[in-house]
């Protein structure tokens, strides 16, 4: 039996999602832009999915743009808004140091093209403070982008307060909600943002699907040119079966949210407490609260996360260090670094992210396997006798 505790990297398809997608792949193959029966059938499936995603995000269906994932949503939001606002003379962008690379690298790309970009520091708990934003923002600021929940440590950012500051100065506010979708209730109105990105595969939907919510009236100049799909905001024939899957996943996630949140929170707290008490030199990274209920990020002294990850995988437990995109490198997590953690502490960091299939027995197993593995890795002296 393998235990999967890496749900912030991706999730398996919900069985209902898989069934509905399989059906749509066979039956709903028309081009949603076509006038005839086949097109209408596809359009109806898209509309249904759009309605489900809108309901999931507490938004109106007309405000949902389907994309091929979180990265595309972030690019569309940031590049699209930046280009739309450029003629007005606003040439400043603000983001935080703990964003996903989809946001950070998009900001850096715009910086190379002459935009002024401010990257807000975070405190040791991994939270972006509204005061920092207040100091950084100017009348020149076009867009502020701060993630809703962090992928590595799970901390929830004070989005409503940050968005209010942006709006005071006439700037737009985008939030990357990829890690909060399916884990926290999403309500675009109470968040007070103008744009928000989600990705289907983080909440048991298919990879290669996502959405950008943009408040009515927000203008984008889409980076990709082409047909008039998605109300002129995202060109290209829609991947109808995949988006059907996204809609079903949004539906399922919305229904389960109220019960899954507390269930995962309790399991996560037990896992965290279990490790902190049994593994010497272990510490939690980031604030305990507010956090996504499924995530805990711990640093374990005197071991490298790379060795831990392999050892746990060989014991049938799948976890990660930092984000999935950074594995294979020994670059310390930019998130933990931004929080001011020591190099050693960042190198020994490990992330557990729980999900729908996680059980009490899984947590017991981790608490049983991890302490002796850590001890074994710490006790290594080379056979070659060099150490």
């Amino acid at each position: 039996m393998r235990i999967y505790l890496d749900h912030n990297a991706t999730t398996p398809l919900d069985p209902l999602v898989a069934d509905r997608m399989a059906l749509a792949m066979r039956e709903v193959w028309g081009n949603a832009s076509s006038v005839h029966h086949f097109g209408q059938q596809a359009k109806a499936a898209l509309d249904e999915a759009r309605g489900a995603v809108a309901s999931f995000m507490g938004a109106d269906a007309s405000e949902i743009v389907f994309t091929a994932g979180g990265t595309e949503s972030d690019n569309l939001a940031i590049r699209g808004a930046a280009e739309a606002l450029e003629p007005g003379g606003r040439r400043h962008l603000i983001t935080s140091a703990i964003e996903h690379e989809a946001v950070l690298n998009t900001m850096k790309a715009l910086a190379r093209r002459g935009w002024r970009v401010t990257i807000l520091a975070v405190d040791a708990s991994g939270v972006v403070s509204p005061d920092r934003l207040r100091e950084a923002i100017t009348d020149d600021t076009a867009l502020v982008s701060v993630m809703h929940a962090n992928n590595e440590i799970g901390t929830i950012q004070p989005i409503a307060a940050l968005a209010a500051i942006a709006h005071e100065r006439g700037a737009l506010f985008h939030t990357d909600a990829v890690q909060s979708a399916g884990k926290l209730p999403l309500d675009m109105t109470s968040l007070g943002v103008d744009l928000a990105s989600i990705a289907g595969h983080k909440f048991y939907g298919p990879k290669g699907t996502g959405a950008l919510w943009l408040k009515r009236g927000v203008r984008l100049v889409p980076p990709a040119s082409g047909g008039k799909q998605e109300r002129n905001r995202r060109a290209g024939t829609e991947n109808v079966p995949a988006l059907v899957g996204l809609g079903v996943a949004a539906d399922v996630a919305q229904r389960k949210l109220a019960s899954e949140g507390p269930r995962l929170g309790a399991l996560r707290d037990r896992l965290e407490a279990g490790i902190l008490t049994t593994v010497t030199g272990s510490e939690r990274n980031g604030a305990a609260s507010p956090r996504t209920p499924n995530t805990t990020n711990l640093s374990i002294a005197r071991v490298e996360s790379e060795s831990l990850l392999i050892g746990l995988d060989l014991a049938g437990i799948a976890v990660s260090s930092g984000s999935a995109c950074s594995s294979g490198t020994l670059e310390p997590s930019h998130v933990l670094k931004a929080m001011g953690l020591s190099h050693g502490r960042t190198l020994g960091s490990i992330r557990f992210s729980l999900g729908a299939a996680t059980t009490d027995a899984d947590i017991d197993r981790v608490i049983e396997v991890l302490p002796p593995l850590v001890e074994k890795l710490r006790s290594l002296t080379t056979v070659g006798g060099r150490k």
């Binding site: 060795s307 060989l314 020994l330 074994k376 290594l380 002296t381």
Partner: protein, 357 residues
Amino acid sequence: MRIVVAMSGGVDSSVAAALLAEQGHDVIGVSMQLYDQGQTTVSGQKAFGTCCTIDDLYDARRVAATIGIPHYIVNFESQFGEHVVSNFVREYVAGRTPIPCSHCNSELKFAELLDRARAYDADQLATGHYARIEQDASGRYHLHRGADNSKDQTYFLFSLTQRQLARATFPVGHLDKDTVRAHAHRLKLGVASKPDSQEICFVPDGDYAAFVERQAPAALRAGTVVDGEGRVLGMHGGVHRFTIGQRKGLGLSTSEPLYVLAIKPDEAQVVVGSKDALGRTALTAATVNWVSGIAPSAWLPITAQIRHRHAAAPARVRATDEGRVELEFDTPQTAVTPGQAVVFYNGDEVLGGGWID
């Protein structure tokens, strides 16, 4: 038995992994990422050579998937830089000719990686080396040349100790290269026809001098090329550009061919002379390892090999100070080169070796 296989992405270690898996072992493939490929060029562009690159890691991963074993990449960049690359540069700057592969074996594969293997409850670490390990009735391990003498790699493994040999296994050591490739074809491994790697992996273009110059620009200084009497014959750009026995690239025009006889880093001098002056019968070596763990107390008749492509020649060796030996060949050997290893054999058994002073 659980066995970790060091997979380079080459055909030998791929077949080693596949054969062990075929025998029913619990095989775990591990590839070492040894350096940031982006640092190998000065232009700032990421360039990829032909060995130990992303392509090789990809090949290793494909082989692991084909034979159905887990595969992990472990990042040993800092250890490789510290133990292998820095030594390589230091040795060249000191006028010596290093062998990074030996250091990689002793400091990384059979140290760091072996440790990891133990932590993951593996009984053994396998590599694709052409070498054989035998255990005698008393339990002592013996290291022998690979069955394919043309591919033998024991010259790079002389520093293995009894403790390391107890945990090491060389699944292709008893095979010849053609058989290894035949296995690779039979097992449908994508690397079956991949060429053997030739160069030192972190210098894929083979230009060691340029590599050393990039790594240690401050340590380099120009000097003179002199003959045996100290007469200046020419100038050179740094002693790291020379190795004992080198004939090309001296920048001299003389009627008879001249060879590098000695390198004097302190004076930035390269001494050249005729080929017959290259022969030497005696040498000393340091950091000596005796595979048995026991240094001989008197002169021991052996054959000795002083570089990878050298036919081991009859000699006698004796231990002097701690970890040191003196060695006398029966007949003069060409180009005894400081920084290279001297490895002692009894027939095809490796008795030990050390680093030539």
